[in-house]
Symmetry: C2
Subunit: 116 residues, 2 copies
Amino acid sequence: MPYQDGTFGCPVEVGLQRISGKWKPRIIYELLQETRRFGELQRLIPDVSRHVLTTQLRELEKDGIVNRTAFLTMPPKVEYSLTDFGKSLEPILEQMIKVGEHYISLQKNETNNTGS
Amino acid sequence: MPYQDGTFGCPVEVGLQRISGKWKPRIIYELLQETRRFGELQRLIPDVSRHVLTTQLRELEKDGIVNRTAFLTMPPKVEYSLTDFGKSLEPILEQMIKVGEHYISLQKNETNNTGS
DNA sequence: CACAATAGTCAGATTTTTATGACTATGTCA
DNA sequence: TGACATAGTCATAAAAATCTGACTATTGTG
């Protein structure tokens, strides 16, 4: 919803807000590989709690990034996949990986140089 | 610092963490235009408090994204600019803007359709 | 009957992030 | 002398995000 002045906020902030969340980029990354069930995502991302995983998936769904398909079998089965828009986030993720690798390589150098 | 198992964490998370922060993308965006003084940034981003602006600038400096140049004049003058690495973030910001604009255009449509 | 599996929900606690307002230093201007 | 400007710091409060552990439903298996 727009502000009182009719603007919609800074696009950078709006965009970033949609993929912010401790686990969202990671979830998107896993779904870029292939469709996953809820339990698979839990196993792939072991540090996320069930609750937060649910919450973040729901938000991603609301924001048109993931599709949720529930099979009313017993036990239940729920599959998550990326929407076309979700797939369009791949370049951002790739660039973010480069940024991350930049920092990781810095950390590796720090670790190697034992201050001699 | 690496984990006990020798890994350095998911690069996506590492990268995103460095530019996460309510105002960091906006700060980077402003500095992509040109070097700015502290007070200018405050005026350009009126909703950020002095304290948080300072904090986020310090983190960006620590993470090698911005340069801080203090002139010991009176009254003091401090200039912030992007490092080369900071400038390399421009494509990410641009793509994030596209994502943000996508959502903003959705909101505009919602606003126009009064549910007829 | 008890137990396992799936995909959750929920309340409450904890942690992290952001906001608020008071305070600092120093020199110039009136 | 008192006020103003710059670029902050600091303590505390409030808000947002995340974590934890208990709980749900249903069917199949032993």
